[in-house]
């Protein structure tokens, strides 16, 4: 099991994307972000090593803010703050 307690920030929603490959983490994160309000945060837990590049790119393209990107070896944990709706 992965310990996520290291991340001090409290997210408004958490999404477990472990054992999923591209494009599923990005697709599911986008669906989850769509349900949030501007300024709310999503915690995302991934195991696809590609997510270290994909999740920052997704945040950049969507206009969301990446607050945390942590590589914990087998898992990668992200906190994304939803930006203004375009």
């Amino acid at each position: 099991m992965t310990d996520t307690s290291q991340t001090s920030l409290q997210a408004d929603a958490t999404l477990d994307c472990r054992e999923l490959l591209c494009p599923l983490p990005v697709y599911r994160a986008a669906m989850a972000l769509d349900k949030l309000e501007e300024g709310q945060t999503l915690e995302l837990i991934c195991t696809d090593p590609g997510s270290l590049e994909d999740i920052p790119a997704m945040a950049r393209q969507r206009g969301d803010t990446l607050l945390v990107a942590e590589n914990r070896g087998t898992t990668q944990v992200f906190h994304i703050e939803k930006g203004p709706r375009r």
Binding site: P23, L24, Y27, A29, A30, M31, R86
Partner: protein, 170 residues
């Protein structure tokens, strides 16, 4: 009957234009069905518009009777999941074996099958354009295709692709 003229690229609104991905899917094998679906689903997840133009064998990906039965070629496919010399790749059952292995790989990696992927892409807003020439040449009617496809020729697709930020041919 009045013909409804559809515009694939409605006039831009005052708001900043969304980025757009325009893909051509020209191949109808199982392995080649995934890349356009993956790219387009990703694009809409990024907040882009995305459309795929399914042409020639690629139209099988939208064919309601065929899209569940796309295959991986065992012949002339040195990178395929079942590595066989061409002489053996041509024997009956070799393509079925390669297809079975690829489907198992996908399942083990938690990747959706093509029908589920299509539903996911359409649900997320990816537009599916069915090539009207292919339909005419191959005798495919609109009722043979899955729901939600837009029938379009090359001019309509190019009109859509001309306003795209990324255009790729698969």
């Amino acid at each position: 009957m009045t013909d409804v003229v559809r515009e694939l690229s409605p006039a831009a609104e005052a708001a900043p234009r969304q980025r757009r991905l325009a893909l051509v899917a020209s191949k109808g094998t199982l392995d080649q069905a995934y890349p356009p679906l993956i790219l387009a689903t990703t694009a809409v997840s990024l907040g882009w518009e995305a459309g795929i133009y399914f042409t020639f064998y690629g139209l099988d990906i939208l064919h309601r009777k065929r899209f569940e039965h796309l295959k991986v070629a065992s012949l002339a496919n040195p990178s395929g999941p079942v590595q066989l010399p061409n002489l053996l790749g041509a024997i009956p059952g070799a393509t079925a074996a390669a297809t079975k292995v690829m489907k198992k790989w996908m399942k083990n990696a938690n990747m959706p099958g093509v029908p589920e992927f299509i539903e996911m892409a359409q649900g997320a807003g990816v537009r599916f354009f069915a090539c009207s020439t292919t339909m005419g040449v191959m005798g495919v009617s609109e009722s043979d295709l899955i729901g939600g496809c837009e029938i379009a020729g090359a001019a309509a697709f190019l009109d859509y692709a001309a306003d795209a930020d990324v255009q790729l041919f698969v």
